[in-house]
């Protein structure tokens, strides 16, 4: 019974354990040295993702199967990080999040699963070993895999669609390892929260004092006006749609890569730049109308008034016309009136 262990039996058990460990170490394989190397590399990396090189990969693959661990590789290409539609940086950070969560949830050594990332430009031959010609690509290599190309398991697009959580599910279902809950670093650390709270608490009395005397930024109605107009612009431009659906500002034309597509045909979708330009047209007409009715009337000079009005009318007419035409083009609606056919 573990609970009734006397100190002497405890010591004996520990000694026995040590002995068994030592003997095990004495008959060590090449795999053990590799595992300890990998563990060392892993502990050096802040999130536990090991940078994989051609040499290291060869060493791992040279081990006799079954290898003592699973490993999962994130295939990265720095020169493609700028392509927004691949979202490589985001996937990479999610991948390292899975890695660090795995380590915090499974602290036992040696780990049954190693996380690697490999860079295309320095290890092209490794990419060839796995036969990879498109990214984003994440691959899990089980211990029994002999041929890396056929025996490893590719992570489907649907498996990283929900980012870290679905990656963890993938690992759990395929490698039969538990990743545990994903530990996301909080956006602001405890210290920062504390600081913010202190700053707010200190500033409250000053703020209240100014509030009572009535000269804060909040008492300037122009700021409120600008804020209101901005919220309006932001909403009618469908910016919320762009945020929720993570729409890019524009697309590259499939037929002609040099051409950019700014307007998407079909009412269920819109691109970022498209939304903002229409939002601008929606807003500008109202602003010009307000300019005429509230500012221009106060002007004494007739000719300036005339000139400004001509410009305003022209711009407004053009904006409304443009929106109507674009709407008809985008949605395909043909709005028509119903004229009486007979009296």
């Amino acid at each position: 019974m573990a609970t009734t262990l006397t100190p002497t039996t405890g010591v004996a058990v520990v000694l026995l354990l040590l002995f068994s460990l030592l003997t095990h170490h004495a008959t060590s394989h090449p795999s053990d040295s590799l595992v300890s190397d990998l563990s060392a590399l892993q502990s050096q990396s802040p999130n536990g993702v090991i940078h994989l090189t051609d040499a290291l990969l060869r060493r791992i693959l040279s081990l006799p199967t079954p290898r003592p661990f699973h490993f999962i590789i994130f295939f990265d290409a720095h020169h493609l990080h700028s392509k927004a539609e691949l979202s490589l940086p985001a996937l990479k950070s999610e991948f390292s999040l899975v890695s660090s969560s795995f380590q915090t949830n499974n602290p036992n050594q040696p780990p049954p699963l190693f996380f690697f990332e490999i860079e295309f430009q320095e290890s092209q031959s490794s990419f060839a070993v796995f036969g990879i010609n498109s990214i984003p690509h994440i691959r899990l290599i089980p211990p029994s895999a002999v041929d890396p190309k056929t025996d490893s398991i590719q992570m489907d697009a649907s498996d990283f669609s929900r980012l870290a959580d679905s990656m963890a599910e993938f690992i759990e279902s395929r490698a039969k390892l538990t990743v545990g809950p994903i530990v996301r670093p909080p956006i602001v650390s405890q210290k920062q929260i504390f600081m913010i709270v202190v700053v707010i608490l200190i500033s409250i009395p000053f703020f209240v004092k100014r509030l009572i005397s009535g000269n804060t930024i909040l008492h300037d109605k122009n700021i409120w006006m600008a804020g209101a107009i901005f919220v309006y612009f932001f909403s009618v431009s469908g910016a919320m749609f762009n945020i929720i659906r993570k729409m890019p500002m524009f697309l590259v034309d499939r037929q002609d890569p040099n051409k950019l597509v700014f307007f998407y045909q079909g009412s269920g979708m819109q691109l970022g730049a498209e939304g903002f330009s229409i939002g601008f047209l929606y807003t500008i007409v109202g602003l010009l109308l307000a300019l005429v009715t509230h500012l221009l009337v106060r002007l004494r000079n007739r000719n300036v008034q005339r000139l400004v009005m001509i410009v305003v009318l022209f711009v407004s007419f053009w904006a409304v016309r443009k929106v109507v035409l674009l709407d008809n083009w985008k949605t395909g609606y043909r709005i028509h009136a119903y004229w009486p056919s007979s009296w």
Binding site: D156, S158, D159, R162, P205, V208, L211, I212, G214, L218, H219, K221, W224, M225, G227, A228, I229, V231, Y232, S235, V236, S237, G238, A239, M240, F241, I243, I244, S267, G268, M269, Q270, E274, G275, Y282, T283, V285, G286, L287, L289, A290, V292, T293, H294, L296, V297, Q305, R306, M309, L313, S316, V320, V323, V324, D327, K330, Y333, I335, H336, A337
Partner: protein, 791 residues
Amino acid sequence: MSEPETSQSTALRHAFGNVLSFFILLLIGVLAFSIRLFSVIKYESVIHEFDPYFNYRVTQFLIKNGVYDFWNWFDDRTWYPLGRVIGGTVYPGLTLTAGALWRIFHSLNIPLSVETVCVFTAPIFSAFASWAAYLLTKEVKGTGAGLTAAVLLSMVPSYISRSVAGSYDNEAVAIFALIFTFYLYIKTLNTGSLFYATLNAIAYFYMVCSWGGYTFIINLIPMHVLLCIVTGRYSPRLYIAYAPLVVLGTLLASLVPVVGFNAVMTSEHFASFLVFIIIHVVALVYYIKGILTPQMFKVAVTLVVSVGLIVCCAALAVLIALVASSPTKGWSGRSLSLLDPTYASKYIPIIASVSEHQPPTWPSYFMDINVLAFLVPAGIIACFMPLSDASTFAVLYIVTSVYFSGVMVRLMLVLAPAACIMSGIALSEAFDVFTRSIKFQLLGATQSPQVNKAGDTNSVAKNDVVKTEISEDSLKERPSRKNKKKEKENIEKASSVSRIEKASLVSRIEKRLLVLPLEASVVAILLLVLLGAFYVVHCVWAAAEAYSAPSIVLTTRSNNGLHVFDDFREAYAWLSHNTEVDDKVASWWDYGYQTTAMANRTVIVDNNTWNNTHIATVGTAMSSPEKAAWEIFNSLDVKYVLVVFGGFVGYPSDDINKFLWMVRIGGGVFPHIKEPDYLRDGQYRIDSQATPTMLNSLMYKLSYYRFVETDGRGFDRVRNTEIGKKHFKLTHFEEVFTTHHWMVRLYKLKPPRNRIRGKTKKSKSVSGSIINQLCHAVHVYYCETCSVTLT
């Protein structure tokens, strides 16, 4: 010199203006009512879509059995075997309103059927809503703006979409209640009268009875109060407008069974209580400021502020503790998805699956509020020009509603009245300026200006000058609540005297100068009229073409004339004539309300998606192979299964297109259903490339059974492919009825074989359903999401 004469002529003008306004409002009401009749003219007088059928059924019950039975009604026709407590889970406002209307008509010996009353409730209330918009805008910016706003609201497409004849849903009466509550709040704010404050609480009660959107009111009004306090606009009128509303309103709201203790327990309401505390602190500060000298006040201020801060901090701490202790942090899923827009799409498939909960793109705004989108910014600026309590409220209303509409398409409905009010203000100000310019310069050229000026400017400039004066002196010159009546009279007298004096004086000095060039004004007016005309054309078109379809009857126009698809009613009629009264019918939840209302048969799940596990059970059955599905359905006593199939006629919102959501919702509770099993390389397909799991699922089989016999190759007109598995037999189900256009197919569960071994699988009831109060009114599934989120 000519004061009595002028006052007499203004009185005459006033009288004439009032009569004219009355007739204009009458016509606006007629317009609001009649523009919504397209659905009746084009189709027939029939209840539309899904939720209205439930409301119709409830109304029938109410009229037949009376209010008390309705209150205690336990409905065993839905959610078999659980049932549903209707009285405690439904917003009763709409039903009671229609019931009252029916009773009124019958007491006047007008024998209308229940269905007729239900069909026309929405148009009647949209006329009321236009009048309420007139009242609200009049309080903000005067009669001219009010009339313009009312006429705009009477035909704004966004509102038409929810209030055409036959669209018998909560929103139909709720929008009226919303606007009217806001009007009474502003009225109280402008007058400081407790009478209006009480009315306001009652209007709020009606709103709580009608729609879950009442939380918008109970958050917007506190926000406005807070804004007024922060910007130094606190006044006793603000207190009178707010405090009774919170106290009476909360008490009344908790009388509605569906709200009950939520009125004090959920964090949607906490803002109002917090502001309630703050306004008392502020009132105390103002009171002390009034009785102390400035020096003493400075001393006192530190004391009061610190005490107030402590109280606020304590209250805040309690609130935070309360909020943090509840699992969703006290916020229901739908409210959370407003604040954090990505919440729903991440965590709640049943919310994300509904098309009205998607964020809108810019064409949605053009479709739903049309040219008002251009005018609103001008209205916002006009509200700032002389800033009053009422106009800050209008600005706050438009800003919050436009933000919320950006998160969810369905909230466009709340934006529409605000947009109409703002555009009404903008249009009337613009017309004011332009007509004034034309009038002055034309008259100035022909007649001697002195004679006409006083009278004309009076009438022209009446609105804005008088309004701002009233609001300003009522703002400043109301020190206490004593002698209210007398004071009111005094002020009214004083202001009516000063109105004439000041208006004529001010206008004589200023208005003469505030003109624009004649010809430019003429052009501008022409363009504005053109814009208005375009709006009317668009609205009529939207009412006639886009929003009038009842979706229970479909029509298409082809070369050889109009073609009507009446398959739904055909199927429901078959059910009601050919099945036993107690038979249970399983279908996806969209068709639950219609089945109970039209076929009068018991359903397993319906559009009131309160029990996620139950829905997931049906989703699992539909996603399972035939045998497993049979066992699930048999365990629920299901006799018939109903599927909607559009592949034959090309009806896109059928069950195959919704199928992935069934898989997702089913998989959320029963993990052996996995979405990737139904997808080939992340793509949803039903052709020969489809996965075996997909081809063997019950939904596939029931949809495409014998489909190949129609054209010999099984070409699906919605998915535009040939189906994957063409010839197969059903082992556990038998086809009993397929409608004329194959849109609804009914299957019967085969009786169990004699030696069925083992126990039938009971569906595990997982406690803690994700969603309790959810998505009503589901129209079309959002098919694009499948392709967007999956690839």
